[in-house]
């Protein structure tokens, strides 16, 4: 409908006001940052010393394992909770909208408030522990804050909200007639899910899963506020910030950032390799 006119030379000038700031503030730092990882703070020449340091000093290379150990199990659990809830409320039922809204609600709170809320609820004198003690289930309160568990819980709550917010829309785009057809042809609920619904939504679910996973690999404020950034939740970003803000070693900080970026790319490629082995395409036929 929109009749597009081929650009004249003068038109390209109008692209410059937004392109120049981005080139200066984004592209140049990105390239400079990459070069920085091959330099030392004082000397000039190019060297691999930062990477050698990263992969030989356990203080650094442990962050890979620590981050993945925190984030990967959390995102798998998030996917199950979010998928379970959104799939269940997909059928017309009373209160479905409220459930969806409350599941997504932590996203509006933001990471810092969710972290403080997790502390308020799960601390030894918080409602979670006092309820369990009053019910007589446990004698000693669980230590669920300022450690791995605290960061894990906060991540799960935020991640579930993020995945659910995307899934609600995606499930809406799948034509219910396809499932109805399967059901009238005699397929059971489970077979309909396995053979009709899941193959249609699979690629979208994996995309959201991957997005959420790479977002959570960059976890920082949660790891610092509810976690234990000195040991258990010493993630990539914690170490990168420590190098940049405490030691002013931007070269090492950026090396950590680059390793984090590569880890995210690897994770992304694994998820997309899985995604490729199934149907990718529209699910809203005959609408």
């Amino acid at each position: 409908m929109n009749q597009e006119v081929f650009a004249k030379k003068r038109d390209y000038l109008l692209l410059l006001p937004s392109l120049i700031p981005l080139l200066l503030l984004f592209v140049y730092p990105l390239l400079k940052g990459f070069v920085m990882t091959f330099q030392q703070p004082e000397t000039a020449g190019l060297t691999l010393a930062n990477y050698v340091e990263f992969f030989t000093n356990s203080n650094y290379y442990d962050t890979i394992w620590r981050t993945l150990y925190l984030v990967v199990p959390a995102s798998i659990i998030e996917l199950f909770i979010a998928f379970g809830i959104t799939y269940f409320i997909r059928e017309k039922m009373r209160g479905g909208g409220i459930i969806a809204g409350l599941t997504i609600f932590p996203l509006t709170l933001g990471s810092i408030i969710v972290d403080m809320a997790v502390i308020a609820f799960f601390k030894p004198t918080g409602w979670f522990n006092t309820t369990l003690i009053n019910m007589g289930l446990i004698d000693e309160p669980f230590t669920l804050v300022y450690n791995y568990a605290g960061a894990f819980i906060a991540l799960v709550i935020l991640g579930t909200a993020f995945i659910a917010s995307n899934l609600v829309g995606m499930m809406g785009t799948i034509d219910p007639n396809l499932e109805r057809a399967a059901r009238t042809l005699g397929a059971s609920r489970w077979v309909t899910f396995k053979r009709v619904f899941w193959p249609l939504i699979r690629s979208n679910v994996l995309t959201v899963f991957a997005l959420n996973l790479i977002m959570q690999i960059g976890v920082y404020s949660t790891a610092v506020i509810v976690g234990n950034p000195a040991s258990e939740t010493r993630t990539f970003v914690v170490v990168a910030f420590e190098e940049a803000m405490r030691n002013f070693n931007y070269n090492m900080a950026n090396t950590v950032a680059i390793v984090m970026g590569i880890t995210q790319l690897l994770v992304l490629s694994i998820v997309f390799a899985i995604r490729k082995r199934g149907y990718i395409g529209s699910a809203s036929t005959f609408k």
Binding site: E4, P17, I85, F105, G186, Y250
Partner: protein
Amino acid sequence: MKAEKSFPELEKEDGQTVQGNINRKPLRNSRKGLFLQKGYKTSSWALILLFLTIVLGMTIAVVLSAFGEEWYGTFLPQGYTIEWFIKAWQAYEVGEYFKITMGIVLTATVISLVLSIPTVYILARRDFPFKQALISFFQLPFTLPDLLYAIPVASIFYSIGLAETIPGLIIVNLIVGIPFSVFILLPYMESLDPRLEYAATSLGATKFKLFQRIVLPQVVPGITASAINIFIRMFNTFTIILLISGPKTQTLNVMVFSVLQGSGSQPPAMLNSLALTLMIPLLFFSFLSLWVSSFTQRRLGK
């Protein structure tokens, strides 16, 4: 498999899987099918209740703690007060940081809109080689992890003296603001019908009239809504501000984060009320954006 066994005469007939599925139809009415369905329903409700209890419980807990007087060992606080908010706001000069943040974010929003609107217009109305590549380039800054450019930007800004200054903070917000405003304004611009402009020109409208009567009324609601979104987005910018902020030049959420990170000795109620302060501007702008969109919809009669 077990379900098929209850219908042995059907199982004999079919060799194919598809046929097998049809034969499972009576499962819904069988006892096992009902049991499975009940189990699915119960476990789904259990999952929903567990998750929502935690979400609601922790939200209420943090709000009560921020408004509670003394809360130790009892189920509910002894009494309610807003003293913690007043204390937190005075101790950490929330008003001052709020003003700084608003100034930075408002300026950066206006600058990014001004810089990106010409680009968006060209992207929506003209065709040129590598247009798609350029559009993807504009999305790069918020798809890449921000740490990758934030650290070099911080090191550059420290070496040229822009770090820990207000202009520096405004400039770094543009890295978020320009791509984001291109991203949300582009679909909007594309949806405007250029034939209205052709019609106006053919009916003899001057350039100024065209802009005043045709372009502007169409564009203003979209730009207002986008501005609020860009504003909220910038309000939440965190990583890069944290890296280049100084003690007196930081935004509200970076200040709150620094306080929460460093002070174990403060009463938790005060820290909770400080964290909840972050909600106020965001709630305000969410309502504002809802109001603007409903207002413009009423005006345009859509």
